[in-house]
């Protein structure tokens, strides 16, 4: 599983997640449908799309926080789809999450020092070698937090400080893959820039792969090596430079800032193009599901992608 000579850290093939609800109706919601994704070592991959397009679900599937309904997950080419319990622990140490809501990411009864050092507590390393105080101070320094904050409770810190603390906790076990689930969406603009800079500088220093989930196309284009655009549970376009030259009609319309009706997720889109109902360029051919094709260095799921000269 390599691409351009760089090994992949995490790969998903044919991933799908269907939720079933209702005692009698058994209504289904197709959150993720037939997604192939590959994230390379040291790469920043941004997933963009509107709310409800399946970005977070896909991220959590890759992290094994949600079990996929279909498809396989590979970590360093090892199939981890069916791993459970103790078999998964070594992989858990290497894959971390930075949550969307920093104020919800910490146990309100714990001081920050305990929360940041929780990875060591979970993995039974809390009493080892007595050097943990130094590790805590290093993590705080690395994420730009005042050491005084270690003894504070989460409600005594601001959103930006908590997000830094969440990054410190995610870094504690020296992971090689971090899922950043809209880490800046709840922060104000000046703090957003600082958090992004922190993430990028950390990534440069330790070659961590980042899966960056965001609504913000400009941010995605700025920080990511590759961007995947999600719509109705599918990745409909993937590659670099999407903001400048979007090829899928959906990517073009979100770059222009158009709003869309939320697709009906109770209908599986394995028979027609997922964007067919709202596509301005639809033809008869669009009643069949397009396969993913390579087009000018992009992976695109469309019968009529726009071609730039």
């Amino acid at each position: 599983m390599t691409m351009s000579g760089v090994s992949s850290i995490i790969t998903g093939t044919g991933l799908g997640k269907t939720y079933q609800s209702g005692f009698f109706s058994h209504q289904k919601t197709f959150a993720v449908q037939d997604v192939d994704i590959e994230i390379k070592t040291g790469e920043t991959y941004a997933l963009v799309g509107e709310s409800g397009s399946g970005k977070t679900t896909l991220g959590k599937i890759l992290l094994k926080l949600i079990s996929p309904t279909s498809g396989r997950i590979f970590y360093h080419n090892e199939d981890i789809t069916d791993l459970q319990g103790p078999e998964l622990i070594p992989i858990r140490r290497k894959m971390q999450i930075i949550p969307q809501h920093p104020e919800d990411a910490f146990n309100p009864r714990w001081r920050l020092s305990r929360s940041i050092m929780e990875p060591f507590l979970i993995h039974g390393q809390a009493q080892e070698n007595g050097g943990l105080k130094n590790v805590l101070l290093e993590l705080l320094a690395e994420t730009g937090l005042n050491p005084d904050y270690a003894e504070r409770y989460p409600h005594q810190l601001s959103g930006g400080e908590l997000q830094r603390a969440a990054i410190a906790r995610a870094l504690a076990l020296k992971p090689d893959f971090i899922l950043c689930d809209e880490p800046t969406s709840m922060l104000d603009v000046s703090v957003q820039a600082a958090i992004i800079q922190l993430l990028l500088s950390l990534q440069k220093r330790s070659t961590i792969s980042l899966l960056f989930i965001t609504h913000d196309l400009k941010l995605a284009d700025h920080i990511a090596d590759r961007v995947g655009v999600m719509y109705n549970g599918h990745i409909i376009e993937e590659g670099s430079g999407i903001l400048k030259s979007p090829m899928h009609p959906y990517s073009q319309s979100i770059v222009r800032g158009h709003k869309h009706q939320r697709p009906d997720q109770s209908i599986p889109s394995h028979e027609s193009c997922p964007f067919v109902l709202q596509c301005p360029n639809k033809t008869e051919k669009c009643q069949t599901i397009p396969s993913v094709t390579d087009c000018s260095g992009r992976k695109i799921r469309c019968h009529h992608p726009f071609k730039y000269d």
């Binding site: 319990g85 146990n107 009864r109 005084d148 409770y153």
Partner: protein, 292 residues
Amino acid sequence: MSSTVYIPISDQGFCALGMRVLKKRPLLVFGLIILILMCLMAVFAPYIAPHDPYEQSLENRFLPPSTEYPLGTDQFGRCVLSRAIYGSQPSLIIAVVSTILVVIIGLLVGLCAGYYRRVDGLLMRITDIMLAFPSMVVTLALVGIMGPGVPSIILALALPGWAKYARVVRSSTMSIKNRGFVESARALGAKNRYILFRHILPNVLAPVMEIATLGLGSKIIMIAGLGFLGLGIQVPTPEWGNILNQGLPLLYKAPLIALSAGALIMAFVLATNLIGSEIRDLMDPMSDSVKI
């Protein structure tokens, strides 16, 4: 790198901490003082009581309060104060042990039902069945089957009581298990047991402790009710309920018999209610009381 850290509560001077708690939460301190005094009274009853509570003397029937008998004597010439003091022992033991039992059962059932969806349906239907029966009727039936006595009264009070705790714990567990810090712990590789006991349990304890302290008071009233019906601790063993039962027909002749037990029951219920209403605030990490 040097760091100035917050002084943990345990490192602060005990007297200074006590004064700060008293200043911020006088009702809590008042409730605790009453509760502690009552516990001390139960434990040191043989040293405090002026007379043997079983000692009868027909010559001394219905004596008014005096220095020898501070609250007078009852119809058998027994010291009313001594009986009220000794009566705290079975009342407090039954109330405390049965409350601990219902809290433990309610916590276990509620945590399992809220966290593990597979057992939720089964455990909650059992809980619904327990809730469907009026608790006093179940208690009366169980005491009737097992016979009066401390262990049977404890069981009879605990068996119908756990269901409401289980309901509260379940709903709190279901909301906490979807919080970000639980998901982060899971992503870090935490096992279910770790998540349940380190993250979820401490966060569901506040409402449980509040109900439990309020429940202590209601348990005392139930024990007194059982004693009043003749199903509680049997005479001549002193217990607040049966003292009240014996004193009521004599309310005009020797009012202090019923009033002594009644006042102690009222004081205990008042103390537990005060503590219960304060404890939720005290256990809330967002409250200023954490920083006392």
